[in-house]
Symmetry: C2
DNA sequence: GTTGCAATCGTTATCGGTTACGTTTGCAGC
DNA sequence: GCTGCAAACGTAACCGATAACGATTGCAAC
């Protein structure tokens, strides 16, 4: 019915049922004060017209909407993982989820668009938001939880223990006997990128291995950004015996580059990543990496947000989840010991 | 500012700027009829308060919102692929995207919830919707495009050429010499499931191979659903020499089961899937499958929806995209020819 | 026969923003 | 000096729904 016609509103129902919109509203929301026969009539009218209350009108009038928002700017595979966790936490909770993604993907990227969208949503549509996008100080009328915030921000956030994870990887490589370990860093400014690099530096320092700045390449977490960087590292005469990339996407790209150059992994080169995305387990050889279970990040963020919305959050403002070293076939003892 | 306080509204701005809300609205929307000095004052007030117009209020009043909706009930990896395509098509188009996912994941799943959400959104929030969930006859005031609709539906939709793809796979297996080919079907009712099964049946018939109904198992596209089915097929004394699963997720599960049973692939058993999700290329051995480039499905659906919203759609109501057989290591000549 | 109290239902203000329409103001033209 | 007109801005209705409040009704108790 009404396909292409104007959407059916509450007053349409009211008219058909011969009552006022207030009564229809009461029936829809199951409130007290409507006679059984009226309820039946209204229900019938709703059925006949195929009426559904407008989310917009409802949320404009009500303060609570029972809808949580999530803002992102990309749909990488890690985004999907995060979403799984979020959905899991929200399952059966009574909260629905709205994801807002702007189309200005490659456009001006005016850096403040997360803020804009957050404000646009939190005004009325959602009770709170999760930001899966580098966000620093965001202001909003409703609670916000940021996954992987920018460094130094004080908003409620959920992060993996990037420092410990990176340290573990580098110590693993050092333990195997590697001394020249290349590093492909993540997007500058993000807490995750900074901590992973810091873990790399500290682990080397602790082991008494002097750091060669020429072995550090600056990527952006984007897999594509890693290709030229990996190639540059491997083209050096004194090329590293191992490369630690700050994300699995970049590490997998490094694997490809190594193959193109005729280097065997882990024979000629060990490679390690960070994230443990599903693809890493399936790669050949399997990628040694750090598991930060991104679905867990999403899960915890959603759980935190739920509590913040209800106003009964007791935990800390910044959650740091443990990481776990996952050793697979891409790392081994180097051929030539120093 | 205003962190935790009430969100700042247009009348706040109006008050600070000493004008009416109408004027603020005109400034925000860049309409004619405001003096340059007033514009400056209002802009300043907006800046100071950090005002953002509420998406909800705007869309309630306006008919057009320049926001498209997408409704899904799960975030599998194929959902992420579809989303990539959608975002790509929407990039720089002026349309933003809202994804609505309900939390009732494992709950009643009242089968009509897609319809409910579609109606809730299309009433006012969105100019049109993409449904990435089995939907049949949906009614809505705004255009809807369905990806992978139920069989026989007449709504605008985008589908891969499932029949041709399935036929190609089975002909490939037949060409290798297989005669006993098992089939793990998808969720009943979906056009995709039906067409893939029909492709399987027709290809066998065309080759003059009689169909053994005991070799057909009924799955649900869900990877988990395939495990017991694959095991049952492989436990038979006259077990098939090849298994064609209607989705890659189910095919990959079948690979696992085969390994558990000590069967080598493709030595003892050939396995083929459908979808070509990223994991299939990375599996060991690589999975022979049908590429239906799900990002392309999303792309075309978004393109179609854009046109429908603008009212300038010329193409057919149902788009069918070509598929492509991808042969990898999981299929080979059977050991024992009949 | 009144009064009183529930139950039932309609009226209306409101959420935040948009827009048709009306009003004020400034200024040129007669 | 009066008229005409357009620019600039305010007023108020409205989008669809909710909820406080008021109005009506039926029925039991006095």
């Amino acid at each position: 019915m009404a396909k292409g016609g104007a959407p059916v509103t509450m007053s349409d129902v009211a008219q058909l049922a011969g009552v006022s919109t207030a009564t229809v509203s009461r029936v829809v929301n199951g409130r007290y004060g409507v006679s059984a026969s009226t309820v039946t009539h209204v229900r019938l009218a709703i059925e006949r017209l195929g009426y559904e209350p407008s989310l917009v009108a409802t949320s404009l009038r009500r303060s609570r909407t029972n809808v949580l928002g999530l803002v992102t700017h990309t749909f990488q595979s890690y985004t999907a993982e995060v979403l799984k966790g979020v959905m899991d936490a929200l399952s059966q909770s009574g909260f629905d989820l709205i994801i807002y993604a702007n189309s200005d993907l490659y456009g001006t990227y005016s850096d403040g668009w997360e803020q804009r969208h957050l404000a646009r949503l939190s005004g009325t549509l959602t009770d709170g938001c999760i930001a899966v996008t580098p966000s620093g100080e965001v202001r909003s009328g409703t609670p916000i939880v940021v996954i992987d915030p920018v460094k130094g921000s004080t908003v409620p956030s959920v992060t993996a223990d990037n420092f410990a994870g990176a340290t573990a990887v580098v110590e693993h490589l050092l333990g195997l006997g590697h001394r020249r370990i290349g590093f492909i860093a993540g997007r500058a400014g993000l807490e995750a990128a900074w901590s992973r690099e810091e873990g790399y530096r500290r682990a080397l320092a602790k082991a008494g291995v002097s750091l060669d700045p020429r072995l550090i390449a600056r990527g952006s977490f984007n897999p594509e950004s890693a290709a030229p960087l990996a190639r540059a590292l491997l083209d050096r005469v004194d090329r590293p015996t191992a490369i630690f990339a700050a994300s699995d996407g970049m590490a997998l790209k490094t694997l490809e580059v190594a193959k193109d150059l005729g280097l065997s992994v882990p024979g000629d080169l060990s490679v390690a990543g960070f994230d443990n995305i599903p693809e890493s387990a399936l790669a050949e050889p399997g990628l040694t990496t750090v598991d930060q279970s991104m679905d867990r990040l999403g899960y915890e963020a959603a759980r935190m947000l739920k509590s913040l919305v209800r106003g009964d959050w007791e935990g800390p403002g910044q959650i740091v989840l443990p990481t776990r070293l996952v050793v697979r076939g891409s790392t081994a003892v180097p051929k030539t010991s120093p």
